[in-house]
Amino acid sequence: MDRWFLLVATALAAVGGITGVWSVRRGVRSPWTVIWMSAAFLAQLGFLSIRGESRGACPLVGLGEILAFLAWSLTLFYLVVGPAYRISLLGVFTAPVVVIFQGLALLPGGLEAEPQRLSGTNPWHETHAAMSVLSYGALALAAVAGVMFLVLDRQLKDHHLKSGLFRNLPPVRELLKSTIRLLWLGVALLSIGVFAGFMMPRQGGTAHLVAACVVWSSYVGFLMLRQWRGLTGRRTATLAVLLFVVSLSVFALV
């Protein structure tokens, strides 16, 4: 049953993305993307609640559950940030990322068929896992906004101004502001996650925590550099994308 919810969520996000792209090709903005993504969010909630019920804890065991939780977190931030800051096309760029995360989670072996109930859960552990994945949702959306900036920047630089994509993308300054806000939010949540990681009872090696600290330091260093010295929009956006991809890869390995 839980798999079906995730499958439906993936299909809804895919439909949202495809209809969004189709509208952009016609030079108009689709009001439906946010609706498809809201429906996908509800289906994601269905998946997470069933898995959470089975686990008796936050469902963050194994790569499949982590990716599904990350996709939920990304969708959540999109639904909060997109309409609030009127960032058009954010949904069109977010939907494929959600589809990829959930598609990977649905691959054979990604999700345990019979999730075991977790015994002796620790609140620090729960906080660490939930906050870290939530922070990754915000950082993923910052990367999505970064990609949007890079696309618009290239079009403006090359004077390619005819496409529906150009007409519907938000202004350069708005995209940069959103990227930075999301990065700060992601780093704040990650800070709580890392702090909780230090407080939780340690099992096995410390590679995971070391990786978390390196990721946290990289993001903080990046934001400090931008704050005090300044960075061009292109470098800010590129770093937001690169740091997200690299840190996600690091956690997939440790």
């Binding site: 030079g27 618009l152 403006l156 004077h159 150009f166 202004p171 300054r173 010295r229 300044g230 960075l231």
Partner: protein, 334 residues
């Protein structure tokens, strides 16, 4: 019941003819009311803008009344204007009004100002008691059609002037222009128009520099900005978001090293450079700097031309909507 539109516009009459028949905005209602003295006329609306003067007439013998109106105009304003007048009768008059309100008959295709001007003309005629069943229905429907045309087509999409194209690009870079700071290098007419367009959209802190400081001061006063001596313009560069350059210098005035020297102070914020001079004022190498978006006159003109062409392609679709909507009206006299 007959419906007639008698008028002249920028296509049929030069400005020296149009200005003779212009009716001051405050007198449109009175003029419409006075027209009802003509025998056979029951209703009238007078529309007068810088590009047109039109009389919309309805009555049992409106066509004869239109001829009488033209005779009177020839007597009072001179017979030489007669070839410049056009007449639209019945459904053609109704369609003409819808096209006017939709901006299809305007000098700048798809412009929106005419909609407000037609509304004001109708309001004054209504207040003066010069309209009744036919023109009330026709004008109200025309306003509905005008809105539909603008909503359902791309007739007003894209800027059709260099200044408008520059403003659209500035908005694509900065979003709302409120708080945007601008420096104008060279106090020529093109830079004035572009700066004015930016200011009208909220740009503040306009700095003006020119080799002749008097001209800079004059334009700065006009813009509510500040004049800067020509050899000091680089000191302002760190604080601005938009540079408009239009000097008659034979060599580039804005060079990459000018921008490189203020990048750190500007914290690498986006900078929009608008070069509307020929020969160009801004070294094209400035466009290679990451946060700089450089546009010259050719690119801006090309954008404006493309927008005009896109609007022209929409005319057939607009006419289709107008025909469809007028069919639903079933108005006496059409």
């Amino acid at each position: 019941m007959e419906l007639v539109c008698v008028g002249l516009n920028h296509r049929t009459a030069p400005v020296e003819v149009r200005e003779r028949f212009a009716v001051p905005t405050g007198q449109l209602g009175d003029s419409a009311k006075r027209l009802l003295e003509i025998d056979g006329l029951a209703e009238s609306v007078v529309l007068s803008t810088c590009n047109r003067t039109e009389f919309y007439l309805a009555g049992d013998r409106a066509e004869r009344a239109a001829a009488e109106l033209r005779r009177r105009l020839a007597m009072t304003h001179g017979a030489d204007s007669d070839p410049h007048w056009y007449e639209h009768h019945r459904s053609s008059a109704a369609k003409h009004l819808c096209r006017v309100v939709s901006g299809l008959d305007s000098m700048v295709l798809g412009e929106t100002e005419i909609f407000g001007q037609a509304k004001e003309a109708y309001r004054q005629a209504l207040d003066a008691g010069a309209t009744s069943g036919v023109l009330n229905r026709l004008f109200q429907r025309a306003f509905g059609v005008g809105k539909k045309v603008r909503t359902d087509t791309r007739i007003q999409e894209g800027a059709t002037s260099v200044a408008g194209a520059a403003v659209e690009l500035a908005e694509k870079i900065f979003g709302k222009l409120a708080g945007c700071r601008v420096i104008v290098i060279g106090a020529g007419d093109m830079s004035r128009q572009t700066a004015q367009a930016l200011v009208s959209r909220g740009a503040t802190s306009v700095f003006v520099t020119n080799r002749s400081f008097d001209k800079a001061e004059l334009l700065a006063t006009e813009m509510g900005g500040r004049a800067v001596p020509f050899d000091e313009w680089q000191s302002v560069l760190a604080g601005v978001d938009v540079v408009i350059s239009s000097t008659s210098a034979p060599h580039p005035v804005v060079l990459p090293h000018h921008i490189e020297s203020v990048r750190r102070v500007r914290k690498f914020r986006p900078l929009f450079l608008i070069d509307i001079a020929v020969p160009r004022d801004i070294d094209p190498a400035c466009g290679d700097i990451e946060e700089v978006y450089l546009y010259d006159i050719d690119t801006l003109e090309q954008l404006a031309d493309e927008a005009r062409a896109r609007r022209e392609k929409q005319i057939a679709e607009c006419d289709r909507i107008i025909d469809e909507e007028l069919k639903k009206l079933n108005l006496p006299g059409t």
